[in-house]
Amino acid sequence: MSIHETAAPACHQPLTLKDFKSGVEPIWCPGCGDFGVLQSLQRALAAHGRPPHEVALVSGIGCSSRLPAYTSAYGFHGVHGRALPVAAGLKLARPDLEVIVVGGDGDGYSIGGNHFLHACRRNVNLTYIVMDNRVYGMTKGQPSPTTEADWDSDIAPGGSGVQPFSPLAIALAAGANFVARGFALDVKPLADILVAAIRHPGFSFVEVLSPCITFRPEEMEWKKAVQRGALSVNTDRAAAMAMALSVNELASGIIFQGDRPAYSETLPAPTGLAAIEKEFELNAA
């Protein structure tokens, strides 16, 4: 198969959330916010209208990164922190697929931070959903880059002493083309954000506040604390950045929709191998 031979996207079909369910039972703790994200995503995919076999979910490692197996789409559950380059390769090899990347704050902002920076900059037409619970859930509770500086844990007694950073500000600085924040338990509004993200060209980033009921039970307070709609759509990056730096980290909504052209998916018409072989010839026989 070459990039040019891939099939054109099938036409949109009426789909429901159920079409995106798989038979694999989640290992998530009962009450984990990630169930909400899964549901929102399934809803969003149904609304978007492309059938499961034209969708590929790519993830790294973490509780949240287990998500692909829980949908009926194609999936790639790779190694920790490397989902974004996998997805870029997949999307550029197969522009006909809808490629969505999911993972956690550790996966995406800690070990995967470099790929996050460069994915924003490269602007391949992907949607990236981070289930941010401000903790490494899968390894049983260590502080992540979004964890409060004074959050006490075994590995950092009394707190890491390091100020969390704002993923929205980083994404904006690095060049992401769509930036939003949602809340896992606001299933319907989150689904709406995800549909917008999926449909926006270029690299779309959706940070989702997704409580870890086991290691950060206090995050259940987010149900009340989330500032719904405190973010509003900017089309100017500087304005979005000013907003990102002034609102609090529980503000939700779409903050930026840009118009940077996506990384090009088109290729010149192929000319074939024969001409290339000729370059090596010294004394044609």
Partner: protein, 565 residues
């Protein structure tokens, strides 16, 4: 009559030593000679000294010579720094311009005959004449190459610079040749003229990848592998594929793996330090059974080492790099000419066996220019088993099959959605901690590589004899040349050149070594990595010896012949 001729053009930055060497080699090629050009440069990023080490001969040239016949110093500013890499002796001839000052003491110390030739004066006598072209002419005269070939070579190489430049170069070359005539040529035996290719190992790897079907490459630049990606970048588009510049090596291999999952034969390219960073993802490719070609062009290690010189010290990492048991295929080309077919074969094997496949090249293959016969294409490409008639719950991504290779539909196929996973999994690909699935998976992944019939891929045997030498990669050339010479003096040496390093072709090796009284494993690294590998695989007799020594200096046939004799 001599059958080969070795010459060095050396000078300070900008003097044009490399252009002279390259023109010389191409002129020789037009006469039907084969050849090799090694480029040396100093520590500076640019503008430092440079030397072109060229050997030409009537048959394919795969080793640096023991001694150079001629050194032409364009100037003496820095040539001395290269002395350890330019062996000369009393039979060697050094041409030096008296205007360029005294010859370098290290060169004088070799005892070579030093003859003065006013290169700069001659150049000045020709309009637009340059010293390096005078040197080219001088070299051609000493090798007995007709000026017509020099003509043709220059016309080809300098075409873009315009007719005037070509004419000036040619005039300078002729003047150099005329001036040197008095020294008398020891002409080369004539060669069979015919179609020849001019390429480096890095270019040949690129070509092999395209021929094999690679349509996606992702890399991060690193010496001495960068040229592969640079060569591929514009050409990938020409075949409908894509080359990606990644932010680092980890991104590169993951991009390639994503593309492979998407259905495209994919590749990543690197050298030692970059390979080290890819190790984790190579394990994922093995575990999830995803095809992937990983090209590693070895340089001198460990760590940053000497990036511009050759060594075979990454074998251990290529064989054993990954936590847990992750069988892989490792191929090493036997020569620069073999870089294309070996890489082509690597792509076929990766696709057919859904596994990571290494192409283990090295700096001395990668960055050396050579004149070779056009490399044949491999027959019968092997393709990915992508189709399955099963769908829904009947579709098991890792279903048991007689050859242990399961159908692997690309995304887009309805009803066959599967998730590639690095977790231990059952035959649906669903994560499982159960011992039975885990062990079945390990068995399957080992068996599919072990039981495959690699045919001729395993390697080559050259000659017969009771002394057998085992070698791989760029050591094969000097070993073959050493064997040839020993053969001339009556000692029969069999060369066992391994292309398939893993899974180790133990039966083929055993058959090849059956009657050997002496077995020597020759390799260019410090710890005898191939020797240890073959011992571990029980592929060597108890009496086998190891001749292992590291880079940066290349093996020369004489060194090996001396050891063997």
């Amino acid at each position: 009559m001599r059958t080969s001729f070795a010459i060095v053009f050396a000078g300070s930055g900008g003097a044009g030593a490399i252009t002279a060497g390259s023109s010389f080699l191409q002129a020789a090629a037009r006469e039907g000679y084969y050849g090799l050009m090694t480029k040396l440069s100093g520590a500076q990023v640019r503008g430092g000294e440079a030397a072109a080490l060229v050997e030409i001969g009537v048959s394919p040239t795969e080793a640096q010579p023991d001694v150079f016949d001629v050194l032409i110093a364009l100037d003496w500013d820095n040539v001395g720094k290269f002395a350890p890499e330019i062996p000369l002796n009393a039979n060697s001839l050094v041409l030096a311009d008296p205007a360029a000052g005294a010859p370098a003491p290290a060169i004088v110390a070799t005892g070579a005959r030093i003859v003065e030739i006013p290169l700069s004066k001659i150049a000045a006598s020709v309009e637009g004449g340059r010293v390096n072209m005078v040197a080219l002419g001088a070299g051609a005269a000493l090798a007995g190459l007709p000026m017509g070939s020099v003509d043709a070579a220059l016309a080809g190489m300098l075409a873009s610079k315009g007719e005037k430049a070509v004419a000036a170069s040619l005039a300078a070359a002729r003047a150099g040749a005329t001036e040197t005539a008095v020294l008398g040529a020891a002409p080369l035996a004539p060669a069979r003229k015919g179609a020849r290719w001019f390429c480096s190992g890095n270019e040949a790897v690129g070509l092999g990848a395209l021929r094999g079907g690679v349509r996606f490459v992702a890399a991060y630049p690193i010496t001495p592998a960068t040229e592969i990606t640079e060569w591929l970048a514009p050409r990938m588009a020409a075949v409908g594929g894509r080359a990606m510049l990644a932010e680092d090596e980890i991104a590169a291999i993951n991009m390639a793996l994503g593309a492979s999952y998407g259905g495209l034969p994919s590749m990543t390219v690197t050298s030692g330090p970059g390979l080290a960073l890819k190790v984790e993802t190579i394990g994922l490719a093995a575990m999830a059974e995803l095809p992937l070609v990983i090209v590693n062009v070895m340089r001198v290690g460990p760590s940053t080492g000497i990036p511009t010189k050759s060594d075979q010290g990454d074998l251990d990492l290529v064989l054993h790099g990954t936590h847990g048991d992750a069988p892989r295929i490792v191929l090493a080309p036997l020569s620069i000419a073999d870089c294309a077919p070996t890489t082509e074969r690597a792509v076929h094997l990766a696709e057919a066996l859904q596994t990571p496949v290494f192409v283990l090249s090295d700096q001395s293959f990668g960055q050396t220019e050579t004149v070779i016969d056009p490399p044949a294409r491999r027959p019968a490409p092997l393709k990915r088993k992508a189709e399955s008639s099963a769908t829904g719950a009947d579709f098991h991504r890792y279903v048991a099959t007689p050859d242990n290779v399961s159908p692997m539909p690309a995304p887009g196929a309805p009803g066959q959605q599967w998730v590639a996973d690095g977790l231990s999994h059952d035959d649906y690909g669903h994560p499982s901690n159960a011992a039975k699935f885990h062990v079945a998976g390990l068995d399957k992944r080992r068996a599919k590589l072990r039981d495959f019939d690699y045919g001729e891929t395993w390697g080559e045997i050259h000659g017969e004899g009771e002394v057998a030498v085992v070698a791989f990669g760029s050591t094969v050339g000097p070993v073959k040349e050493a064997a040839r010479r020993l053969g001339e003096s009556g000692m029969k040496v069999k060369v066992v050149a391994l292309r398939l390093l893993a899974p180790a072709p133990t039966q083929a090796i055993a058959a090849a070594l059956k009657d050997a009284q002496r077995v020597i494993v020759v390799e260019q690294n410090h710890s005898g990595q191939l020797y240890r590998h073959l011992l571990a695989e029980k592929a060597l007799p108890a009496h086998a010896e190891s001749l292992a020594r590291p880079g940066p200096l290349p093996f020369r046939p004489g060194e090996i012949a001396t050891y063997l004799a």
